[in-house]
Symmetry: C2
Subunit: 168 residues, 2 copies
DNA sequence: CGTCGGGTGTTATACTATAACATATTCTGT
DNA sequence: ACAGAATATGTTATAGTATAACACCCGACG
Protein backbone atom coordinates (compact mmCIF):
# COMPACT_ATOMS: atom_id res chain seq x y z
CA UNK A 1 0.00 0.00 0.00
CA UNK A 2 2.95 2.25 -0.16
CA UNK A 3 2.06 3.42 -3.61
CA UNK A 4 -1.34 3.55 -5.19
CA UNK A 5 0.23 4.40 -8.48
CA UNK A 6 3.56 3.26 -9.71
CA UNK A 7 6.07 5.45 -11.35
CA UNK A 8 8.87 4.17 -13.42
CA UNK A 9 11.18 6.70 -11.86
CA UNK A 10 10.56 9.18 -9.08
CA UNK A 11 10.44 12.72 -10.44
CA UNK A 12 13.05 14.21 -8.12
CA UNK A 13 16.31 12.39 -7.65
CA UNK A 14 17.28 11.97 -4.00
CA UNK A 15 20.04 14.12 -2.65
CA UNK A 16 22.49 11.33 -2.27
CA UNK A 17 21.51 9.32 -5.30
CA UNK A 18 24.16 7.60 -7.35
CA UNK A 19 24.43 10.08 -10.15
CA UNK A 20 27.17 8.19 -11.94
CA UNK A 21 24.58 5.54 -12.48
CA UNK A 22 22.15 8.08 -13.99
CA UNK A 23 24.83 9.01 -16.49
CA UNK A 24 25.73 5.41 -17.26
CA UNK A 25 22.13 4.47 -17.84
CA UNK A 26 21.52 7.50 -20.03
CA UNK A 27 24.61 6.90 -22.17
CA UNK A 28 23.76 3.24 -22.49
CA UNK A 29 20.21 3.99 -23.57
CA UNK A 30 21.43 6.58 -26.04
CA UNK A 31 23.88 4.11 -27.54
CA UNK A 32 21.17 1.51 -27.86
CA UNK A 33 18.59 3.86 -29.39
CA UNK A 34 21.01 5.34 -31.90
CA UNK A 35 22.16 1.91 -32.97
CA UNK A 36 18.57 0.79 -33.35
CA UNK A 37 17.73 3.79 -35.52
CA UNK A 38 20.90 3.82 -37.57
CA UNK A 39 22.01 7.13 -36.10
CA UNK A 40 25.58 7.99 -35.24
CA UNK A 41 26.31 8.79 -31.63
CA UNK A 42 29.74 10.24 -32.38
CA UNK A 43 32.31 10.95 -29.66
CA UNK A 44 31.35 14.63 -29.73
CA UNK A 45 27.65 13.94 -29.40
CA UNK A 46 28.26 11.39 -26.70
CA UNK A 47 30.43 13.82 -24.78
CA UNK A 48 27.83 16.59 -25.04
CA UNK A 49 25.17 14.20 -23.81
CA UNK A 50 27.42 13.27 -20.91
CA UNK A 51 27.91 16.94 -20.06
CA UNK A 52 24.17 17.64 -20.22
CA UNK A 53 23.79 14.76 -17.80
CA UNK A 54 26.40 16.32 -15.53
CA UNK A 55 23.60 17.03 -13.09
CA UNK A 56 19.84 17.27 -12.93
CA UNK A 57 20.09 21.02 -13.28
CA UNK A 58 19.64 22.25 -16.83
CA UNK A 59 22.91 23.37 -18.37
CA UNK A 60 23.44 26.16 -20.86
CA UNK A 61 25.01 25.69 -24.28
CA UNK A 62 27.91 27.94 -23.39
CA UNK A 63 28.67 26.03 -20.22
CA UNK A 64 28.91 22.90 -22.35
CA UNK A 65 31.13 24.80 -24.73
CA UNK A 66 33.49 25.73 -21.91
CA UNK A 67 33.75 22.12 -20.82
CA UNK A 68 34.53 21.00 -24.35
CA UNK A 69 37.33 23.52 -24.49
CA UNK A 70 38.65 22.17 -21.20
CA UNK A 71 38.76 18.79 -22.87
CA UNK A 72 41.22 20.34 -25.28
CA UNK A 73 38.80 20.03 -28.16
CA UNK A 74 38.41 22.74 -30.76
CA UNK A 75 34.98 24.13 -30.11
CA UNK A 76 32.80 27.05 -31.07
CA UNK A 77 29.08 27.65 -30.55
CA UNK A 78 27.97 25.73 -33.66
CA UNK A 79 29.86 22.70 -32.41
CA UNK A 80 27.71 22.45 -29.34
CA UNK A 81 24.45 23.61 -30.90
CA UNK A 82 24.71 21.00 -33.61
CA UNK A 83 25.28 18.26 -31.10
CA UNK A 84 22.38 19.56 -28.99
CA UNK A 85 20.13 19.65 -32.06
CA UNK A 86 20.96 16.04 -32.79
CA UNK A 87 20.26 14.98 -29.21
CA UNK A 88 17.00 16.94 -29.17
CA UNK A 89 15.88 15.36 -32.42
CA UNK A 90 16.58 11.89 -31.02
CA UNK A 91 14.66 12.72 -27.84
CA UNK A 92 17.76 12.19 -25.72
CA UNK A 93 17.61 15.62 -24.12
CA UNK A 94 15.03 18.33 -23.62
CA UNK A 95 15.32 22.07 -23.93
CA UNK A 96 13.96 24.18 -21.09
CA UNK A 97 12.68 27.26 -22.85
CA UNK A 98 12.32 29.34 -19.73
CA UNK A 99 15.98 28.79 -18.83
CA UNK A 100 17.58 28.62 -22.27
CA UNK A 101 19.16 25.42 -21.06
CA UNK A 102 19.15 21.69 -21.64
CA UNK A 103 18.58 18.65 -19.49
CA UNK A 104 18.82 14.93 -20.05
CA UNK A 105 15.65 13.09 -20.88
CA UNK A 106 14.63 10.69 -18.17
CA UNK A 107 12.80 8.35 -20.54
CA UNK A 108 14.38 8.57 -23.95
CA UNK A 109 12.26 5.85 -25.49
CA UNK A 110 11.22 7.88 -28.46
CA UNK A 111 10.33 11.53 -28.65
CA UNK A 112 7.53 12.59 -26.37
CA UNK A 113 6.03 15.66 -24.80
CA UNK A 114 7.42 16.32 -21.38
CA UNK A 115 6.46 18.35 -18.38
CA UNK A 116 8.98 19.78 -15.95
CA UNK A 117 9.01 20.77 -12.33
CA UNK A 118 11.80 23.31 -11.90
CA UNK A 119 12.90 24.19 -8.39
CA UNK A 120 13.87 27.81 -8.00
CA UNK A 121 16.11 27.01 -5.04
CA UNK A 122 18.15 23.97 -6.06
CA UNK A 123 17.69 24.42 -9.78
CA UNK A 124 16.71 20.81 -10.37
CA UNK A 125 14.43 20.15 -13.31
CA UNK A 126 12.43 17.00 -12.77
CA UNK A 127 10.64 15.49 -15.70
CA UNK A 128 7.13 14.31 -15.05
CA UNK A 129 5.22 12.70 -17.85
CA UNK A 130 1.77 12.73 -16.38
CA UNK A 131 -0.81 11.31 -18.77
CA UNK A 132 -3.65 13.00 -16.92
CA UNK A 133 -1.97 16.35 -17.30
CA UNK A 134 -1.32 15.64 -20.97
CA UNK A 135 -4.98 14.72 -21.34
CA UNK A 136 -6.12 17.91 -19.65
CA UNK A 137 -3.94 19.89 -22.02
CA UNK A 138 -5.39 18.08 -24.99
CA UNK A 139 -8.94 18.77 -23.82
CA UNK A 140 -8.31 22.47 -23.29
CA UNK A 141 -6.78 22.87 -26.71
CA UNK A 142 -9.40 20.83 -28.50
CA UNK A 143 -12.16 22.99 -27.10
CA UNK A 144 -10.58 25.88 -28.97
CA UNK A 145 -10.16 23.86 -32.14
CA UNK A 146 -6.43 23.91 -31.63
CA UNK A 147 -4.16 20.98 -32.56
CA UNK A 148 -1.17 20.81 -30.25
CA UNK A 149 2.15 19.67 -31.72
CA UNK A 150 4.54 20.60 -28.97
CA UNK A 151 3.28 21.34 -25.49
CA UNK A 152 5.73 23.27 -23.34
CA UNK A 153 5.03 22.85 -19.64
CA UNK A 154 7.57 24.23 -17.20
CA UNK A 155 6.34 24.60 -13.66
CA UNK A 156 8.57 26.72 -11.50
CA UNK A 157 8.42 26.57 -7.76
CA UNK A 158 9.94 24.74 -4.81
CA UNK A 159 10.64 21.04 -4.65
CA UNK A 160 9.85 18.95 -1.59
CA UNK A 161 13.46 18.89 -0.40
CA UNK A 162 13.81 22.66 -0.63
CA UNK A 163 10.51 23.35 1.10
CA UNK A 164 11.72 21.68 4.28
CA UNK A 165 13.77 23.76 6.68
CA UNK A 166 17.42 23.17 5.85
CA UNK A 167 17.80 20.83 8.83
CA UNK A 168 19.72 17.52 8.58
CA UNK B 1 -27.58 25.56 -26.53
CA UNK B 2 -24.89 27.23 -28.47
CA UNK B 3 -22.56 27.27 -25.55
CA UNK B 4 -22.54 24.97 -22.60
CA UNK B 5 -19.84 27.01 -21.01
CA UNK B 6 -19.40 30.69 -21.35
CA UNK B 7 -16.14 32.37 -21.97
CA UNK B 8 -15.54 35.97 -21.32
CA UNK B 9 -13.58 36.21 -24.52
CA UNK B 10 -12.99 33.65 -27.24
CA UNK B 11 -9.39 32.43 -27.22
CA UNK B 12 -8.62 33.16 -30.85
CA UNK B 13 -9.60 36.52 -32.29
CA UNK B 14 -11.44 36.26 -35.57
CA UNK B 15 -9.59 37.15 -38.72
CA UNK B 16 -11.53 40.28 -39.37
CA UNK B 17 -12.05 41.36 -35.79
CA UNK B 18 -11.88 45.00 -34.91
CA UNK B 19 -8.39 45.12 -33.55
CA UNK B 20 -8.45 48.81 -32.84
CA UNK B 21 -11.06 47.96 -30.30
CA UNK B 22 -8.79 45.35 -28.68
CA UNK B 23 -6.17 48.03 -28.26
CA UNK B 24 -8.62 50.60 -26.93
CA UNK B 25 -10.02 48.17 -24.40
CA UNK B 26 -6.57 47.10 -23.29
CA UNK B 27 -5.32 50.65 -22.87
CA UNK B 28 -8.46 51.62 -21.05
CA UNK B 29 -8.19 48.71 -18.68
CA UNK B 30 -4.53 49.44 -18.08
CA UNK B 31 -5.31 53.05 -17.29
CA UNK B 32 -8.01 52.03 -14.87
CA UNK B 33 -5.93 49.37 -13.11
CA UNK B 34 -2.90 51.60 -12.72
CA UNK B 35 -5.02 54.41 -11.35
CA UNK B 36 -6.67 52.02 -8.92
CA UNK B 37 -3.31 50.76 -7.68
CA UNK B 38 -1.52 54.09 -7.58
CA UNK B 39 0.83 53.10 -10.39
CA UNK B 40 2.03 55.42 -13.09
CA UNK B 41 1.18 54.47 -16.65
CA UNK B 42 3.60 56.96 -18.15
CA UNK B 43 3.53 57.87 -21.84
CA UNK B 44 6.45 55.53 -22.50
CA UNK B 45 4.80 52.62 -20.75
CA UNK B 46 1.53 53.33 -22.43
CA UNK B 47 3.20 53.45 -25.81
CA UNK B 48 5.03 50.18 -25.19
CA UNK B 49 1.78 48.56 -24.13
CA UNK B 50 0.16 49.86 -27.30
CA UNK B 51 2.99 48.39 -29.38
CA UNK B 52 2.74 45.02 -27.65
CA UNK B 53 -0.93 45.15 -28.49
CA UNK B 54 -0.08 45.89 -32.11
CA UNK B 55 -1.30 42.41 -32.94
CA UNK B 56 -2.11 39.12 -31.31
CA UNK B 57 1.30 37.81 -32.32
CA UNK B 58 3.92 38.10 -29.61
CA UNK B 59 6.39 40.87 -30.33
CA UNK B 60 10.06 40.95 -29.45
CA UNK B 61 11.68 43.63 -27.32
CA UNK B 62 13.86 44.81 -30.18
CA UNK B 63 10.90 45.18 -32.52
CA UNK B 64 9.35 47.45 -29.92
CA UNK B 65 12.63 49.29 -29.66
CA UNK B 66 12.65 49.92 -33.42
CA UNK B 67 9.14 51.32 -33.27
CA UNK B 68 10.06 53.64 -30.43
CA UNK B 69 12.95 54.93 -32.48
CA UNK B 70 10.58 55.52 -35.38
CA UNK B 71 8.53 57.63 -33.00
CA UNK B 72 11.59 59.83 -32.73
CA UNK B 73 12.09 58.92 -29.12
CA UNK B 74 15.53 58.31 -27.66
CA UNK B 75 15.55 54.61 -26.95
CA UNK B 76 17.96 51.86 -26.01
CA UNK B 77 17.30 48.31 -24.86
CA UNK B 78 16.90 49.23 -21.16
CA UNK B 79 14.21 51.71 -22.13
CA UNK B 80 12.01 48.99 -23.50
CA UNK B 81 12.93 46.27 -21.02
CA UNK B 82 12.08 48.52 -18.11
CA UNK B 83 8.72 49.35 -19.55
CA UNK B 84 8.10 45.67 -20.25
CA UNK B 85 9.09 44.77 -16.69
CA UNK B 86 6.58 47.28 -15.37
CA UNK B 87 3.82 45.94 -17.58
CA UNK B 88 4.67 42.34 -16.64
CA UNK B 89 4.62 43.20 -12.95
CA UNK B 90 1.17 44.81 -13.32
CA UNK B 91 -0.09 41.76 -15.22
CA UNK B 92 -0.80 43.87 -18.30
CA UNK B 93 1.31 41.73 -20.60
CA UNK B 94 2.74 38.22 -20.59
CA UNK B 95 6.12 36.96 -21.66
CA UNK B 96 6.21 33.96 -23.97
CA UNK B 97 9.35 32.14 -22.90
CA UNK B 98 9.52 29.90 -25.94
CA UNK B 99 9.52 32.91 -28.27
CA UNK B 100 11.41 35.48 -26.22
CA UNK B 101 8.51 37.77 -26.96
CA UNK B 102 5.64 39.57 -25.30
CA UNK B 103 1.90 39.67 -25.79
CA UNK B 104 -0.91 41.68 -24.26
CA UNK B 105 -2.86 40.08 -21.46
CA UNK B 106 -6.43 39.35 -22.37
CA UNK B 107 -7.69 39.60 -18.80
CA UNK B 108 -5.50 42.01 -16.93
CA UNK B 109 -7.57 41.96 -13.75
CA UNK B 110 -4.65 41.22 -11.47
CA UNK B 111 -1.68 38.97 -12.02
CA UNK B 112 -2.52 35.39 -12.84
CA UNK B 113 -1.04 32.27 -14.32
CA UNK B 114 -1.82 32.00 -18.01
CA UNK B 115 -1.80 29.31 -20.62
CA UNK B 116 -1.17 29.98 -24.28
CA UNK B 117 -2.07 28.36 -27.55
CA UNK B 118 0.54 29.44 -30.08
CA UNK B 119 -0.14 28.81 -33.75
CA UNK B 120 2.97 27.89 -35.69
CA UNK B 121 1.43 29.13 -38.93
CA UNK B 122 -0.15 32.49 -38.16
CA UNK B 123 1.91 33.17 -35.05
CA UNK B 124 -1.09 34.12 -32.95
CA UNK B 125 -0.80 33.49 -29.23
CA UNK B 126 -4.22 32.99 -27.67
CA UNK B 127 -4.52 33.14 -23.93
CA UNK B 128 -6.66 30.50 -22.33
CA UNK B 129 -7.08 30.53 -18.61
CA UNK B 130 -8.62 27.15 -18.09
CA UNK B 131 -9.26 26.42 -14.43
CA UNK B 132 -9.44 22.69 -15.09
CA UNK B 133 -6.04 22.76 -16.69
CA UNK B 134 -4.69 24.81 -13.82
CA UNK B 135 -6.17 22.28 -11.41
CA UNK B 136 -4.61 19.37 -13.28
CA UNK B 137 -1.25 21.11 -13.08
CA UNK B 138 -1.68 21.66 -9.38
CA UNK B 139 -2.53 18.01 -8.83
CA UNK B 140 0.45 16.73 -10.78
CA UNK B 141 2.84 18.96 -8.90
CA UNK B 142 1.36 18.23 -5.51
CA UNK B 143 1.82 14.51 -6.00
CA UNK B 144 5.52 15.17 -6.25
CA UNK B 145 5.51 17.40 -3.20
CA UNK B 146 6.21 20.37 -5.44
CA UNK B 147 4.80 23.84 -4.81
CA UNK B 148 4.23 25.69 -8.06
CA UNK B 149 4.82 29.45 -8.10
CA UNK B 150 4.82 30.16 -11.79
CA UNK B 151 3.41 27.67 -14.25
CA UNK B 152 4.57 28.18 -17.82
CA UNK B 153 2.24 26.56 -20.33
CA UNK B 154 2.84 27.30 -24.01
CA UNK B 155 1.14 24.91 -26.38
CA UNK B 156 2.43 25.13 -29.91
CA UNK B 157 0.46 23.82 -32.82
CA UNK B 158 -2.12 24.89 -35.37
CA UNK B 159 -5.13 27.05 -34.66
CA UNK B 160 -8.56 26.28 -36.07
CA UNK B 161 -8.30 28.89 -38.79
CA UNK B 162 -4.94 27.63 -39.99
CA UNK B 163 -6.00 23.99 -39.98
CA UNK B 164 -8.60 24.66 -42.61
CA UNK B 165 -7.49 24.67 -46.23
CA UNK B 166 -6.64 28.21 -47.17
CA UNK B 167 -9.90 28.51 -49.10
CA UNK B 168 -12.32 31.40 -48.77
C1' DC C 1 40.66 6.33 -57.49
C1' DG C 2 36.57 9.59 -57.33
C1' DT C 3 32.74 11.57 -55.53
C1' DC C 4 29.15 12.00 -52.33
C1' DG C 5 27.16 12.84 -47.94
C1' DG C 6 27.44 13.56 -43.16
C1' DG C 7 29.99 15.50 -39.49
C1' DT C 8 32.96 18.92 -37.73
C1' DG C 9 35.93 23.22 -37.79
C1' DT C 10 36.03 28.21 -38.38
C1' DT C 11 34.70 32.95 -38.78
C1' DA C 12 31.45 36.21 -38.44
C1' DT C 13 27.25 38.03 -36.98
C1' DA C 14 22.38 38.39 -35.25
C1' DC C 15 19.38 38.41 -31.46
C1' DT C 16 18.13 38.81 -26.44
C1' DA C 17 18.98 40.85 -21.97
C1' DT C 18 21.15 43.33 -18.09
C1' DA C 19 24.74 46.16 -15.32
C1' DA C 20 26.11 50.56 -13.98
C1' DC C 21 25.84 55.19 -13.80
C1' DA C 22 23.90 59.93 -15.27
C1' DT C 23 20.03 62.87 -15.80
C1' DA C 24 15.30 64.22 -15.58
C1' DT C 25 10.77 64.16 -13.78
C1' DT C 26 7.30 63.75 -10.24
C1' DC C 27 5.77 63.60 -5.53
C1' DT C 28 5.65 65.12 -0.67
C1' DG C 29 5.81 68.04 3.07
C1' DT C 30 6.62 72.54 4.40
C1' DA D 1 7.41 77.92 -4.43
C1' DC D 2 11.05 75.15 -2.68
C1' DA D 3 14.10 71.23 -0.88
C1' DG D 4 14.68 66.64 -0.64
C1' DA D 5 13.22 62.01 -1.73
C1' DA D 6 11.62 58.76 -4.79
C1' DT D 7 10.68 57.26 -9.25
C1' DA D 8 11.44 57.20 -14.20
C1' DT D 9 14.25 57.63 -18.16
C1' DG D 10 18.67 58.33 -20.84
C1' DT D 11 23.20 56.48 -21.97
C1' DT D 12 27.10 53.47 -22.54
C1' DA D 13 28.89 49.20 -22.27
C1' DT D 14 28.72 44.39 -22.01
C1' DA D 15 26.92 39.68 -21.09
C1' DG D 16 24.44 35.76 -22.77
C1' DT D 17 22.09 32.93 -26.45
C1' DA D 18 21.82 31.31 -31.20
C1' DT D 19 22.56 30.85 -36.21
C1' DA D 20 24.48 31.76 -41.12
C1' DA D 21 27.87 30.66 -44.33
C1' DC D 22 31.59 28.38 -45.94
C1' DA D 23 35.82 25.19 -45.52
C1' DC D 24 37.65 20.79 -44.45
C1' DC D 25 37.81 15.95 -43.26
C1' DC D 26 36.63 11.25 -43.62
C1' DG D 27 34.33 7.04 -44.38
C1' DA D 28 31.07 4.51 -47.65
C1' DC D 29 30.22 3.09 -52.03
C1' DG D 30 30.80 2.41 -56.87
Amino acid sequence: MAALKRRRTPPFPGRGHDHARCVDVALGEATRLCARDGQRLTPLRRRVLELVWGSHQPVGAYAILDRLKQDGRAAAPPTVYRALDFLLARGLIHRIASLNAFVGCARPDGSHPAQFLICRRCGTAAEIDDPRLAAAIGRSATESGFAVDAPIVELRGLCAGCRRPAAG
